[in-house]
C-alpha cells in the first residue's frame, strides 16, 4: 500500500534477534525504557496483551506536564505482527482521534527488520509530529537492543 497523507511508514533494521525486538514491543517494562522521545519519559505503562486487551501509558513532557494515551490490541502474532489502536487523551481524559499501528517484524540474517505503519491521522501536522516522535523512540530502541 502506498504511503499517503494520513499514514506514516517507518522501516528500521535492528541488529538483534526477532524475539528480542518482539519483547521490547510487548513487555510493559521494556516499553518504558524506549517508547518516549528524547527528554520525555513514560512513568506509567501497562497493557493486557491479547486481542481486545487494553493498553495505557502516561508520557511526561520535558516541562513536567503529563499526557495520557492508550488503545486496544487488535492482533498479536508472536513474534511477527502486532496491531493496536493508539489515541491521546483529550483535556477531559477521554480518548481523542484514533490511529491504528501495525508493526511487522521480519528476520534478516540474524537482524530484524521492523516495518512500522501508523494509519488514520487527522492531519499532516499530527503525522509529521509522530514521525519525529517515533523516530526518536526507535533510536532509543536501537540503543536498548545494543545493550542486551
Amino acid at each position: 500500500m502506498a504511503e499517503n497523507e494520513n499514514e506514516l511508514v517507518i522501516t528500521r533494521v535492528f541488529d538483534a534477534p526477532r524475539a528480542l525486538v518482539w519483547k521490547a514491543w510487548t513487555d510493559a517494562e521494556e516499553l518504558k525504557q524506549w517508547s518516549a522521545p528524547k527528554g520525555f519519559t513514560l512513568p506509567v505503562n501497562e497493557g493486557d496483551l491479547r486481542p481486545g486487551g487494553k493498553w495505557r501509558s502516561c508520557m511526561r513532557k520535558p516541562d513536567g506536564t503529563e499526557l495520557w494515551l492508550g488503545g486496544v490490541y487488535r492482533e498479536i502474532v508472536e513474534p511477527e505482527r502486532l496491531v493496536f489502536t493508539h489515541a491521546w487523551d483529550d483535556e477531559n481524559g477521554k480518548p481523542g482521534p484514533e490511529t491504528v499501528v501495525t508493526v511487522i517484524f521480519s528476520e534478516r540474517g540474524g537482524k530484524t527488520e521492523m516495518n512500522f505503519r501508523q494509519a488514520g491521522f487527522a492531519s499532516a501536522d499530527s503525522r509529521d509530529g509522530h514521525a519525529e516522535g517515533w523516530g526518536e523512540c526507535f533510536d532509543r530502541l536501537e540503543e536498548l537492543l545494543a545493550k542486551e
Binding site: E5, N6, P37, K38, G39, F40, K61, P62, D63, G64, L67, W88, D90, E91, N92, K94, G96, P97, A122, S123, A124, D125, S126, D128, G129, H130, A131, E132, G133, G135, E136
Partner: protein, 137 residues
Amino acid sequence: MPGAAKGPLYFTIWLNTIHLMSPERLNATFAALADPTRRAILSRLARGDASVTDLAEPFDVSLAAISKHLKVLQRAGLITQGREAQWRPCRLAPAPLKGAADWIEHYRRYWEESFDQLDDYLHNVQSKEKERGRKRK
C-alpha cells in the same frame, strides 16, 4: 526536569495542540465563529492588537454589544485582553483555531475527491462534444 533536553520540536508543538481538539473546545470555537461580527473582530485582530473602542468603530452597534461579543471570543480562548495598559488591548489567541482547522483538515480528502470527479465529468463532456462535432461534419 528543568535544564533537560527540550525534546523533538514538531512532536512537542503537535502535543501542545492535542488538547485543543476536545468536543467542548470545538463547540466553543465553532460557536464563537458562527457570527459575522465576531469573525470580523478576529480578522481585525489578525492585523494587530486593538482597543475595544477601535474594534467597535466599524460596526453600527453599541459598545455594550461589542463587549458581549468579546466575552464570547474570550471564553472560547480566541482572544486575550491585556491588563498592562490603560486601553487594555485585545489580542488574537490563534491556538483554538488550530484545533478547528485540524478538525476540518480531516475532510480535505473528500472535497479533493469531488474535484477529481468534476475533472472526470468535464473530460467526458468535452469528448462527447468533440464526438458530436465530428458527426455533424
